[in-house]
Symmetry: C2
Subunit: 327 residues, 2 copies
């Protein structure tokens, strides 16, 4: 692999939907030149304004050190894949559809250098599956973040079966430069880490609700005010250490056999599928929403993330002096 | 049940360990008179200073509206159970030992009014079990909070098989007055809600670690920076609504069969038992600690809770104008 100074890395992003633009904002904010490719012509119109607004929001919350224009001047948006020729890393953010993604990789591989790393932000398709038909599967990997990317520290860098570890290591280092607290997944775990652990929660939680032992509201409250009060500070296992580890083994014996082991889609979730519920997007979900409420949740989510992002940085215990990433 | 103005409720607390004193501080802060009973003579010496320090901390963070002395003047600490005679609610916070707890209830029942509610803060013993030998099992229930009580909103009010619902309803309303966001558990679920859902996470997480697919650090990071960024705002199910509900059913089909269903204590946790690991308490746990690090975690936990406590109050979406509870 060519030796590149991290800050001089040119990065390409293919796909300018919500996730693509949010990631582009992060990259610009941390000083990268970005070549953004729009696979859909309509993205050419929507994306610039969205990125501009995101940078303005970052400016408003004090994350930028220069005027918004200075960051925007580092961005090129185009439909022409050939511009990716100068990139050291190309991140694909198109829809979760295997054939469409593979089509993108074919176009990208035909124009980039041999050393260029290609990554997918998929949260649904195994990396090992995506890399199968590439000319250079060893330089392909997963880069998975949480939205909105410019206000979150979460990042999973995932190796497929055929990914060469040095590429993943390089991206892992780069991720720190983006202000992330990345994890490096050496195996291509189905569902990655958080998703997988959260599915264990969904399975148990939906089962408790369906059995009438608690309501959706009860569970949400309990998580918000109990787990929520230590999650960002400690994570799961350090919390156990903090509580002294004493009673877990005994409690496991009592509670593990009572946990739900069902493999089927819970009836409550099947009903959501049947009525085409899309939550805040169509005002119908596990909860019901007015249009105004849905809008408030959207706004609150962005703002809350920014607060947690800062709060996490104030607890250097976990890692000394986490810097805010703006340059 | 006698009609009592919430603010004039006299409350007794039996057991002055960490949890008892933290709860007493909450009660004083919200304007109650508190009769605190020390089952162990040594508590008589330690508890007053601890409560004083907690009130000073609350004052420092702006939660108090009057001088610390004004709150302390509402507190009586004694070894004499007879003082509980004037209480409308008595909360037991002694160690998790069935016979010791039952002994406390016997003493309490012998001195209180017929309308007095007796509660346990147990997180390990079923309420239905605890209420068995009481003269008035119908007025017995669970009140379970998160530490430190004066900086957390979590509270589970749990009915045993023989608890009369009107008593639980009354405590549920009182809990709001304490600045809590309580849940009312109509069935005595083993492990309550958060614990139970977290055990599903522990089972899956320890299994992933043991299989070498990820490290403890990976899982903690992923939870801190992914789940941590929305947990306090949304809880589990509203988060699903927020993300649009679209792919869950399909992903459940793929991931549920891959989740761990083991009923046994994971080897990693058994090892912690075998080496008598107590986490930050004896510097040996899933992680290793220096004495200084352990101390820092203790301090950080208290401060972080206070921040989350305030942050939650700034998002009135979820509930209009959550007041801070100090009076």
């Amino acid at each position: 692999m060519r030796s590149i100074k991290i800050k001089d890395t040119n990065i390409g992003v293919v796909g300018l939907g919500l996730m693509g633009t949010s990631f582009i904002t992060t990259l610009l904010m941390t000083g990268h030149k970005v070549i953004a490719i729009a696979p859909l012509t309509e993205d050419m119109e929507v994306a610039p304004e969205r990125i501009n607004n995101q940078l303005l929001l970052c400016e408003k919350t004090g994350l930028l050190k220069r005027p918004v224009e200075a960051y925007l001047s580092q961005l090129v948006i185009s439909e022409n894949y050939e511009l990716l020729g100068s990139c050291d890393l190309v991140v694909e953010c198109v829809i979760e559809h295997l054939e469409i993604k593979k089509g993108v990789y074919k176009k990208v591989e035909s124009v980039v250098w041999d050393h260029t790393i290609i990554a997918s932000n998929t949260s649904a398709i195994p990396i090992s599956e995506l890399q199968k038909d590439l000319i250079h599967p060893e330089r392909f990997l997963g880069i998975h973040w949480a939205e909105p990317s410019y206000f979150t520290r979460f990042m999973e860098v995932t190796l497929g079966e055929n990914t060469a570890p040095q590429y993943a290591q390089w991206v892992y280092e780069l991720a720190h430069y983006w202000g992330k607290e990345p994890t490096l997944l050496r195996k291509d775990i189905r569902g990655f880490i958080t998703n997988r652990l959260m599915y264990a929660v969904y399975r148990e939680g939906l089962n408790i609700v369906q059995s009438g032992q608690a309501t959706l509201e009860d569970i949400d409250k309990a998580f918000r005010y109990d787990a929520g009060s230590w999650m960002t500070l400690m994570g799961v296992f350090r919390r156990m250490d903090y509580l002294g580890l004493k009673d877990y083994a005994e409690t496991f014996k009592a509670i593990f056999p009572a946990l739900c082991n069902d493999e089927h889609v819970p009836a409550l979730m099947q009903r959501m599928v049947d009525i085409n519920a899309r939550g805040v997007q169509n005002l119908s979900g596990l909860y019901q929403y007015s249009a105004e409420e849905a809008k408030k949740w959207e706004e609150a989510f962005i703002l809350f993330n920014e607060e947690i992002y800062r709060l996490a940085a104030e607890y250097p215990l976990v890692k000394e002096n986490i810097p805010l990433p703006g340059v």
